[in-house]
């Protein structure tokens, strides 16, 4: 899955052309570590000084996921704009996670294991650093890729994930349904797309 799409450049309030790709390589993981982490940790330092909560994913290291590259049941997506990596996602099509919502309980889905947007696209972190966030819609575009992957695998757009607490509003906002907290997964809240909600989401974010 490769293609051009638009994300939103916040400073100029205009569209910016980005490239979605699924041939993610170790070089992309290294880029996330070398360019994203210093910005994220600089923001963490300020947030900590101000007594604000730190992002729960600050310890993530995408290079540790490299052994999964090339596996048929795992698809990595990247989104690049203006030469820089803006987001990464790991989506599983062979996950043991199944749908939990009534009406589709037990059915297979695409499980979004990890999704991350570059820290310079996150308003709270950039405000902490006295800067404006660069792009919006990166997370939404990656979630659209997950829905497309689901459709390509005849899973009807069904997608599920465990959300970190500070991302719950985002997943609600794109139309995913929260179900229950999962005691087997750090008590994170489980979110799910029904086929209908996935279709609405794809239409709204064209």
């Amino acid at each position: 899955m490769k293609g051009k799409l638009n994300i939103r450049h916040l400073a100029t309030e205009s569209d910016a052309e980005a490239e979605l790709f699924d041939d993610v390589a170790q070089a992309d993981f290294i880029e996330s570590q070398s360019l994203w982490r210093p910005v994220l940790w600089a923001a963490c330092r300020i947030l900590h000084l101000k007594g604000k909560p730190l992002p729960l994913y600050k310890h993530w290291d995408w290079t540790q996921k490299a052994p999964a590259l090339g596996r048929l049941d795992v698809t990595f997506f990247g989104l690049r704009c203006r030469g820089h990596l803006q987001g990464l996602m790991k989506a599983d099509t062979g996950s043991l996670n199944r749908c939990r919502l009534d009406g589709q309980k037990g059915k297979e889905l695409v499980y979004v294991d990890y999704v991350e947007t570059a820290p310079w696209n996150i308003k709270d972190y950039m405000e902490a650093l006295g800067r404006q966030a660069l792009f919006s819609r990166v997370g939404a575009r990656l979630m659209q890729a997950a829905v497309t992957l689901s459709l390509e695998n005849e899973l009807k757009g069904r997608v599920g994930l465990h959300s970190l607490p500070d991302a719950e509003d985002f997943y609600r906002g794109i139309g995913m349904t929260p179900t229950e907290r999962d005691p087997n997964k750090e008590n994170l809240l489980w979110f799910e797309f029904t086929p209908e909600a996935a279709e609405d989401f794809m239409r709204k974010y064209q």
């Binding site: 596996r71 048929l72 049941d73 099509t93 062979g94 059915k107 297979e108 695998n153 005849e154 009807k156």
Partner: protein, 64 residues
């Protein structure tokens, strides 16, 4: 490619297609993903188990 299946294999495939509401191609692709995952784990020396949580029974999965 053309895939020749026995009658029993085709019956099993038809049943999976019906229960999962998927085409034969999608079911076979899904099976290949699962087989690759299991094969990689077993090649590393890992063991794969299936567990009946209610009965507290665990059985090792053997893949040829």
């Amino acid at each position: 490619m053309t895939l020749m299946l026995t009658e029993a294999e085709m019956t099993a495939l038809d049943r999976l297609c019906a229960s999962k509401d998927m085409t034969k191609a999608a079911v076979i692709r899904q099976a290949l993903r699962l087989y690759q995952t299991l094969d990689e784990r077993l090649s590393r020396g890992d063991k794969v188990f299936v567990e009946d949580e209610a009965k507290k029974e665990k059985a090792e999965l053997v893949v040829l």
